[in-house]
Assembly symmetry: C2
Homo-oligomer: 199 residues x 2
DNA sequence: ACGTTACGTGGCACTCGGTGCCACCGCAAG
DNA sequence: CTTGCGGTGGCACCGAGTGCCACGTAACGT
């Protein structure tokens, strides 16, 4: 169970576990026994590491279900940066949000269980707000650049908030309706944004 | 400093403190020394009550800055329920959001400091998501009734999310720009919603 | 081959938020 | 005066998160 991770170049050392492994083990426990009922001690024990070490992999128990979210956000940032200015703003953002939430069929069941936790366990629901900040930031940055406005101005920020709202609304709906398709619900949610909310 | 609260009718007993007093004392400490640097023990001591008693007034340290938010939400629910069907949906919601965030000039400074905490301290930012749920619910309920759709369907939920997004975007902007007027920023944010987010 | 250094590990003790339990006390009603 | 209710707060306990440090092992220099 010893893995090499030589990414850092010099002074690479064996790691007893990978983030992905730990995340998987923890999530399994959360699903089986409930989030609040599962202690970090139990997760560490199940993974065969010390409690202290757990907090070197994850800043908090709340971060465990998030996996490599930050990486995905960075990928979205890069993807958006590569979009030519000829592509219309809102269509690009819609496309980006759909891409961001596109998972291979094999991972869909897992993703659903993960999101079920993130959207229902109060502690996780609360914590998620902090994780979404960087996501909104990417959207706002892109919108600001396209609109020629500072990122700090109202419109880009609002666009970030509103696209997040659409995503969360879609996830809520997807989890609520077991037969639905995530991408379809997302598409519907994003469509509502493009309607005029007047009268 | 002993106050009578005989609301419950029979068996009314003196309370050593009121929620408002405690909230005020705590916020003062948060502003002066920082949220994370202030312990519940210190707040309790400053208020002259026991630590155990603090948690009978507030479910958590995070709830302290919220004051009577739930009451305001209930008022909004009642206000919306009283709006005749002849009033257009989105105009009514816009009006409701503006009313909800209308404070007497004397409380504005206090409100600003409170919101500064709620929107910047990570622990509070996270927790706020849980408090906003009931707010979104009120919006969604009204929209659902007006649209003749179940509350659980996508559109009413989205409307709840999107109006929350506008509110949070406006607050972010308001706090970011010391010279701005809350209601004006809010109005601008809500206006953006009523534009078509296309092309 | 040997010492040195870097680094992942994990034990220990501590802080702080939050909870269950319970004993205490004052007020109101009988 | 007695009984009962309700606010109070001390005490012990749990679990998340952190600082500190000692240990072992792999990589590196000589």
């Amino acid at each position: 169970m010893v893995t090499m991770t030589g990414q850092t170049g010099a002074h690479a050392t064996r790691r007893a576990t990978t983030v992905a492994q730990l995340s998987h083990i923890g999530l399994q426990l959360f699903i089986e026994n409930g989030f609040d009922e599962t202690t970090v001690d139990e997760i560490a024990a199940a993974a065969g590491i010390g409690r202290r070490t757990f907090f070197r992999y994850f800043a908090s128990k709340n971060d465990l279900p998030w996996g490599d979210f930050d990486e995905l956000v960075e990928r979205m940032r890069a993807d958006l940066a590569a979009v030519p200015d000829s592509e219309p703003l809102y269509a690009t953002l819609t496309r980006a949000v759909l891409d961001f939430n596109t998972y291979p069929a094999s991972e869909l069941q897992y993703h659903r269980e993960r999101m079920q936790l993130l959207m229902t366990v109060p502690s996780l629901v609360a914590h998620s707000t902090l994780r979404y900040e960087s996501w909104r930031e990417v959207i706002a940055e892109f919108a600001a650049r396209r609109l020629g406005e500072p990122v700090g101005s109202l419109r880009p920020r609002m666009i970030g908030w509103v696209y997040l709202a659409a995503s969360l609304g879609a996830y809520e709906q997807w989890l609520h309706d077991p037969g639905s398709e995530l991408l379809e619900v997302l598409r519907s949610a994003l469509d509502i944004l493009s309607e005029r909310l007047t009268a």
